[in-house]
Each structure stands twice: as structure tokens, then as C-alpha cells.
Symmetry: C2
Subunit: 337 residues, 2 copies
DNA sequence: CCCCATATGCTCAAAATAAGTATAAGTGTC
DNA sequence: GACACTTATACTTATTTTGAGCATATGGGG
């Protein structure tokens, strides 16, 4: 057991590690969930869009979150609302085409939400609809066709392409669980699990060296529909963020972090559906949101609905003192079972 | 927006940061949840027990989790089952008595579970019941008396000791939410929130410089019942781990990571209660565990019960392919509301 | 055989959920 | 101004899930 004191704690770590703070800054605008990406543009392997990041200043920043807020404000002018540490990404070869050598890059990933209104576009970056990165995650209009037509057959091929039958079985089971092919339906929260499986199966561009990947048997062509690739492992970081947010909206009122101060219940529903990637039952949604005390009427109405004017609501802050897990009720699963 | 390439990503970070991997290794034995601590002994400020940690080797370790497993096995001989990254702790002055200077210590914290049987005691370390660190977290036999008698009055005093009324209100609300003083009951998952509040209020030894802390008004004496202090911010890391585990057992079958391969339902219940810190309704527990397909009978019985012999069960691995969120049903709240 | 302890099976009311039907209140068309 | 159309909102109903308790089973010890 290591009982060494602080003075000899430094191992190889202190000279060969580079630490930065990466941010998945998300919002919902025009009913679409979006993340802020830098240099989203051409999309060829050399200049893929990437997450914004900033240095961590061990001298200046009292906490890492403080450091993050500092450089985000400096660089983008955005005011972050909800901020939460996601995960620390430190796998070697985070860029699979990179070679060894040089200091090991470590990113402490954060997820942050900003309000639609404040979601201006900082120079050199853009708000990208996150379902362009993960087309299979958008179930708002039903099961995505590309899932059944592209992903599922390729995943099955990958599983069956395993050498021994044990690996085969394990791959099948993982695919079943992650994508809900078996008895169980689609679990919206398992975003990372699905992305990692696709990565392993060589179905997303990041895992391919040159658009193709050797799966042990055949070369599978990376299908162009498998979403926008990002720099290094950044798409993986976004997947982690989406999964976290989808879980979080259920028991914390984070959805209001992307809403304007007043909104209609249908707007709230749209935003929730955008994050959750799943359609919601309108009447039940409003009943629950109201009966749980998440919102209160402002007294005004919106006539921009096209039909009967909708009452405007605001977030009712007091709910956090009344409800154990104040969040919007979105069912965990849809589909089979 | 920072668009710099990898080569100039290194900021001030690469020379003045020390990265290590800390582990909250937990188990349940004799119906008590425990964490592995190094040098648990005298308990005076200079030699407080601490979490085991190890270096991260940027040259050798492909992933941080791999690095963690490596040194844990090397140092302790334990075989880790469930391992999950917790949080990366990088606040300055993680040791409040420390001064500035030297490289900034950053710990990537992990939580791991080991099986009771394998929970031998590595030299120089011991399995400490985690409720000795957090006496207020153990509600298995009802609301802890020290909560009402010690913590609550001191927290209220701290809140009311704030200068302006806004701070006062905010402190009261935070205490209400974290400890469930108001309408809402005790939310077992908010372990970290509670610890941080106690820390801010100067009620745990780590936040005191010399056993007393200046709260802006009076000096509040740190009560000896407020739990075993650990080295630096390690108790905070354990609090994070407990909160995470309590949440996790609800939707992932991690509880089985601490169980032997065969067990009675009551043993399973005891282990669940140990982690969750809350008593469970026996009949309902077994009904749910069985009807969700989490376990299956082994065919054997245990006569060590003292009464009617209990059937032995084993974890039914297939449940992960059948159930959306396979975990033990423990209610989120207890008490008021 | 009776008592005690624990295990296990079953009932029942209350609460939460899911999915619908019905009605209200605007806009635009003719 | 009647009518179609749109969206908002209220209410109903069946089903499932929970929470809590009662009853019975099955061992050991006197």
C-alpha cells in the first residue's frame, strides 16, 4: 500500500501530462438541441470540428469549474448556467491516428447549459444540432430508419464476425442491451454505450484510419450516415454529455436552464423532447409538470401558437424545496416491453 | 475561441500539476459498508487516515482505469469488480491547512466494489465502516439522534449567523433541501451536498484549522460526534462515492458486486440497506427482487438463519438483457411527505 | 408438542402512469 | 358571421406500481 507523503507523490506524472478543460456547451434553439463546436466546417479528417477547450491554470484558478467559466466567458462571451463535471478523458491514443510520443493529453470534460436567448454564435464556432453527430439518437419522430437499415445489420455482422463463439455472444448481448434489439426497448440514456459499440465495430469515422476499418474478417465501409465525426475523441465526450443530461432532466430541473424566463408548456415539452430524443404525451406532460409544481403561470398568454393562445409559465424555484427529485417525467424506455 | 492545435495546447499546466488516481474501495461485510483506508489509526490531525492512491503512468497505462487496477492489485492484492470513475478533484487548498506553492495536486477519483469474501485486509490499511465517517448518513435504525441533537441546531445557527438576510435564506434553503428539514424527507443520495454544507458550516474537522472555525460571528466548536476526519479532502471523495453508489444500485445490479456467489434474500437486503443507509420492507424487497428477475434459486438452503432455513439465490445475469434498469428498488426518500 | 425465530406467500388499498376523449379559444377563409 | 383548422387545456379510465400489513411455512430448542 502506498503510504508515501505528498512530497514524493510526484511520479512520472508531473512532466508528461497536459491537462485541459473541455466543455460540451449545449442549448436548445428552434426545438433542436445543439452543441457549440469550433471550426465546424469542411469535415475532412484533418480539420474536423472540435469541442472548445481551455487551459487549466494551476496558479490562478481556485477550482477547475472556476477556470472553465473563466475561459468560456473570455473566449465566447457566453454566460454558463448549469455546469457539471462530466468525466476525465485520458485514454492513450484518444486520436487513433496519432502516434506515441509527447506529453499525454488529459481532458477534464464539463457539460454546461446555456439559455436559448444567450446562445449567440461566437466567431469561429457554431451551434451544431447534436443529432447530426448521433442520427440514431433522435427518436422524436419514431425509430430512426438508419438504425434498422444501416446500423443494426452492420452491428450484427460485426458481432457474428467474432472469432470465437463466446466473443460472438458477448457482442450480441452488448448490442441488444445498448440498442434495445431484444426484448427491451430503447433506453435513451445509453448514449455512450451505443457510441462505444459503434466505435468498436468500426462504424464511426473516428475509429477508422482511412474510412475503412479492419474488423478481423472483412473491411467494413464506414457508412456516410453514421454521423458527423469530430476531432479526436470529442464525439465520445459529447455522447457522455448527452447521456448525462438525459438522465439528469428526470430528477433535477435542468431543463429550465435552456428555457427563456417565460415559456408555454408546449415549448417546454419541445425542449424536453429535444434533449430526451423521445416524443412525449402532451396531456400527461402538462399535467405532471403542473401538478408537481415545477412551473407557475405568469398571467400572460402567447399568441404565437397558431391556435388557441397558450398561457405562459415560469419556472417555480420553490419546487426544489418541496419535491424530492424535481424533474420532468420522461419515461426511461420506449418500444418493446 | 481557442482554435490552437495540439502542439500549443500545453499551457501552464504541464509542469505544475501532479496527477494521481485515488480509489474509494468499498465492500459490505458483517452487514456494514466499509471503505479501505490507509493508516487508519491515531486520528490526530497530522496522521489522519487516507484513501489509497497510486500514480498514473502516462507512458505505461493505456487508460486510467487500467492504471488504477494495476496499482490496486500490486499494492493490495485485491481484485476489483465494479470500477467507475467518480470525479476529478482539483480544488486549490484541498488541504485547508496547506499553504500555496509546489505543484497543484489533482486526483482522479474512482469508486470500486469488492466482494466480501475477497475483502482481506492489506497491510497498513483497514476496512473502516463508512458510517464512522458519516454518522448522520445511517438511517437504518431510524433518524440518527446526532442529526437532530447536534447537526440540526448547529446548521441553523450557522445559517442564522449569516450577515445579510439573503445569505441567511439561501443557507436555510440549502440545509432544508440537503437534510430534508422542511417538507421533504431525507434523500439518501445527497451525501456530498450534506458533507459540503457541514464543511462550509465548519462542523467537520477538515474545515477547521485547529478544532475551531470562524464562522464570521462566533467560534463554533467542532463536535466530536461529526465523524472521523480524513486526510485532506478525502472524506469529500468518499462522500461523492457513497452518493454515487446509492444512486447506482437503483438501476444497475452493482449490489451483487459485494455479494458472494450465493446468498439469501435477507442477506441481499442487509447489504442493500447497508449501502442505501435506509431500512427496507422485507416482503416487498423480496417480491421485487424476485419478480424483476434479478436472482434465481440455487436449490440450496442456508440453515444459519436461526429460524426457518432460507433459500439460497444467485445473481441472474440475464436480467440485464430483460430489464431496462435492473437494480434493487430502494425508495428515494423517507420521512416527511 | 409448544414456543420462538425467521422465511415466504398473499391481500389490499393507495398512488402513479399511460393513453385516450372531450372541450375551449384563438386564426384565417369564404 | 359561419366554418374549418389549429393548438391549448380539462377530464376520464384502465393498468401498473408501490407501500404496508396479515397469514402461513419451516426450521431449532425446551
Amino acid at each position: 500500500m502506498n503510504t508515501s507523503s505528498k512530497t514524493d507523490r510526484s511520479g512520472a506524472a508531473d512532466v508528461s501530462v497536459v491537462l485541459d478543460l473541455s466543455a460540451v456547451i449545449a442549448t436548445v434553439s428552434a426545438d433542436e438541441p445543439r452543441v457549440l463546436l469550433v471550426d465546424a466546417g469542411t469535415g475532412d479528417a484533418e480539420s474536423r470540428p472540435r469541442l472548445p477547450f481551455g487551459p487549466f491554470d494551476p496558479e490562478g484558478d481556485r477550482t477547475m469549474e472556476e477556470g472553465l467559466r473563466r475561459w468560456v466567458t473570455d473566449q465566447t462571451g457566453l454566460t454558463l448556467g448549469f455546469v457539471e463535471q462530466l468525466y476525465t478523458f485520458g485514454d492513450r491514443f484518444r486520436d487513433p491516428s496519432a502516434q506515441a510520443g509527447g506529453p499525454r493529453p488529459i481532458s477534464v470534460g464539463y457539460v454546461a447549459l446555456v439559455r436559448q436567448a444567450s446562445a449567440k454564435r461566437p466567431a469561429g464556432s457554431s451551434w451544431v444540432e447534436w443529432y447530426r453527430l448521433f442520427p440514431w439518437e433522435d427518436w422524436r419522430t419514431g425509430s430512426p430508419t438508419m438504425l434498422a437499415e444501416v446500423l443494426k445489420p452492420q452491428l450484427i455482422a460485426w458481432a457474428d464476425g467474432a472469432e470465437d463463439s463466446k466473443t460472438k455472444r458477448m457482442r450480441r448481448e452488448r448490442a441488444d442491451v445498448a440498442f434495445g434489439f431484444g426484448d427491451l426497448g430503447w433506453d435513451a440514456d445509453r448514449v455512450l454505450e451505443r457510441y462505444e459499440l459503434l466505435y468498436e465495430a468500426g462504424l464511426v469515422a473516428e475509429s477508422a484510419t482511412d474510412g475503412r476499418i479492419n474488423t478481423g474478417q472483412d473491411q467494413i465501409e464506414v457508412h456516410p450516415l453514421t454521423g458527423l465525426p469530430l476531432h479526436q475523441d470529442h464525439r465520445r465526450i459529447v455522447a457522455t454529455a448527452i447521456g448525462r443530461l438525459r438522465g439528469k432532466i428526470r430528477y433535477r430541473p435542468v431543463i429550465f436552464e435552456v428555457m427563456p424566463s417565460a415559456f408555454t408548456l408546449f415549448e417546454l415539452q419541445r425542449a424536453t423532447e429535444a434533449l430526451a430524443g423521445t416524443p412525449l404525451h402532451k396531456q400527461n406532460f402538462r399535467r405532471l409538470v403542473a401538478s408537481e409544481g415545477l412551473v407557475e403561470e405568469t398571467g400572460q398568454v402567447s399568441v404565437e401558437t397558431g391556435g388557441r393562445p397558450a398561457k405562459m409559465f415560469r419556472f417555480r424555484r420553490d419546487v426544489v424545496r418541496e419535491r424530492p427529485a424535481p424533474g420532468v417525467r420522461v419515461p426511461r424506455r420506449r418500444g418493446a416491453r
